[in-house]
Amino acid sequence: MREFISSVAGPRVVFITGTLVTAAPASALACPVCGFIGTSDNTWAYQAMSAMLTLLPLAMVGAIVWWLARLAAREPRHNGLALRERQVRRDRAVDG
């Protein structure tokens, strides 16, 4: 049974869900205020604000991570490559 689900039913569920979401986006739109007044402005505002509230936190987290990574790369003690290079140089000096 489990094999049947994973081999046949699984791909079908994915296919049907994908078809519904791409072919019938109006049914998938969960906008509680769209159609209430019926103006196109309202739908646009809902979609734009949904996009903003989705992308803004991702962009901020990405920006903070990028900023910290850049600062860490500049700092020699946090830079793994620089640390390794210093270690190798020290070892060579001891051997020589």
Binding site: V33, F36, I37, T39, D41, N42, W44, A45, Y46, A48, M49, M52, L53, L56, P57, M60, V61, I64, L68, L71, A72, E75, R77, H78
Partner: protein, 197 residues
Amino acid sequence: MTTMNPMLRVVRPRARSEVVPSGLLGMVIFVGTEVMFFAGLISAFTISKAGAPRDAWNLPAGHVLPLAATAVNTAALFVSGALLWIAGRQYRGRSSVATQTLLAAIFFGALFVMLQGREWVGLIGRGVTLRSSALGAFFYVIVGTHAVHAVAALAGLGVAWWRLRAGRLSYGFFLAAQTFWYFVVLIWPVIYARVYF
């Protein structure tokens, strides 16, 4: 008599350096959450405004929000932000005038808050309250929340000025206070453009 186990070695912790001051990192994360808070308010405002009938999105008795007076307040806020930036450069350069520049930045920031308060008194006097209309409710909530942030940021700058004067201001604290004020300055044009127009 005890003998030392040769397998045991004293491991000294490696010296660690701070990539970014902890105060600044905490403030950056806090500002991120505040940005989302204002984004939520502006989102609710935008959707409500778009959904309201054209003639219903007004202040009572035909009053309008004071665009020109608020433009002057906005200019004062920008001057404050610019002065703080200059004060930061002077502080890093160990200049003695950084104290005066920081005080001037606080003065212009306080001027912004006072002018906003004067504007509010005028609006309340004309009958524009939280309950008078949907626009009035959004106006007081969004602009009021910004004002609370401005007052808190000014208090932080005041502490920074006091410590700078006493010669015990840490760079991390200054950067954190600076970051919070920049947030207050930069979020305002978004609020002004969205709520007042």
